[in-house]
Symmetry: C2
Subunit: 240 residues, 2 copies
């Protein structure tokens, strides 16, 4: 890597800066060189720091100290604090989209929607720091990075929406506008980052399945004339 730290705000540097961080982002999902692996460590540490203090209040000093390096040394890997925020959020979306693609192959309509819900909740539980930064500090992104993130976000929501549409058509969900139903379900899942403790009394997987059952009734009772929901009611536990 050649050294280019000298002209941070020059016109041509702005363009290359964008290309630079995007090429970094693309390689971060599967880091190969030790340089890329170190960058991934920086991103993970940044997620923890930003989660704890927020993007604005969290400092590069916090990040570098946790990594045992000096603050100026960070500039060997990135060009700005903004770069780190982008890499952090982009890394999360890349993970989510990659895992999503595998789930979409699921054939059964109910199981596909259930899988998407359970996967999202467990992913949030596993990557709590990344999701907190994503949900809370996304607005701290400047253009064009914000647009890039929004595009990936839309792809994720679109997959959810397809599953919701099919489930609703099949009578597995109450019949309301599909966009609203999609956001309602996503809200249920996303909000778990605020309250569902992966180390809490209810195991993450189990909580995710309970929420999925809450949203997508195990029995298609929303279709007229269906009966026999007594099995679900029989397990009446007033727990928690």
């Amino acid at each position: 890597m050649t050294q280019m730290q000298r002209q941070p705000n020059a016109a041509r540097s702005q363009q290359t800066a964008r290309e630079h961080v995007i090429s970094l982002a693309e390689r971060l999902l599967h880091p190969q060189s030790s340089h890329e692996q170190r960058l991934l460590e920086i991103v993970k540490t940044a997620a923890a720091v930003f989660r704890e203090r927020g993007y604005e209040a969290g400092t590069l000093e916090d990040i570098s100290q946790q990594l045992g390096m000096t603050r100026p040394a960070l500039y060997h890997y990135v060009r700005s604090k903004q770069d780190i925020l982008f890499l952090t959020i982009n890394y999360l979306l890349d993970i989510a989209l990659a895992e999503l693609n595998e789930l979409e192959r699921q054939q059964d309509t109910r199981e596909r929607l259930r899988s998407l819900i359970i996967h999202l909740i467990t992913l949030i539980g596993r990557e709590r720091s990344f999701f907190t930064v994503f949900f809370r500090d996304k607005a701290g992104l400047e253009e064009p990075y914000l647009s890039l993130i929004r595009e990936k976000e839309r792809a994720y929501v679109a997959a959810f929406r397809r599953a919701v549409r099919e489930a609703m058509t099949a009578g597995m969900l109450p019949n309301i506008p599909e966009g609203i139903a999609t956001q309602a379900i996503l809200g249920c899942c996303n909000w778990t980052y605020q309250w569902l403790d992966p180390a809490g009394p209810v195991p993450l997987e189990q909580a995710a399945e309970l929420i999925a059952s809450f949203l997508v009734d195990p029995h298609p009772t929303h279709l007229a004339g269906k009966e026999d929901t007594s099995a679900a009611v029989a397990s009446d536990g007033q727990g928690q």
Copy 2:
């Protein structure tokens, strides 16, 4: 009032500063003097600024400029930026709790839960700035203010939980642990601050009712063999 601005960090000053801002907060819901009314304007402007830029990035300069005053003039009303954040979030919770108390008188189990859901969603739509600051920047609160806010938050959640418990016992919700069901429903409602545009194509009230119908089935299909609930559905006034 004797002048005490001299020792900002002295032990006794910390105590009076706390008492000072709490007494301000108590009077903000029903401002009487012109001084209190002006403080309320500051709080509302702060909510807009913090929503747009976040608590850390939003400056007192932004707030004072929008109000046509100088930044030092803000210190005639509050003692710190932190005070403003606390007053902002506390004001929102006081509004929410006051309106909640009226809704809890609702007798019918299904309608009470529906009312809580619809009320929360419409309140979020109306007070978008306050809720954004609350959800996103709450962690910026220091003690003891954070604990005061958490207590009011718990009271709000507890009311929701009571309504959820009754609805679940009556078979109007899928049977899962009531704490998880409560958070799932709250998540659905709270997340609307991220996507539900009060000026969007679907009117706020209507969207809120659709989401309520999505969460609490208009027909108690979760209880086995109950057919005679049609009377309750017929008699309830659908026209809020």
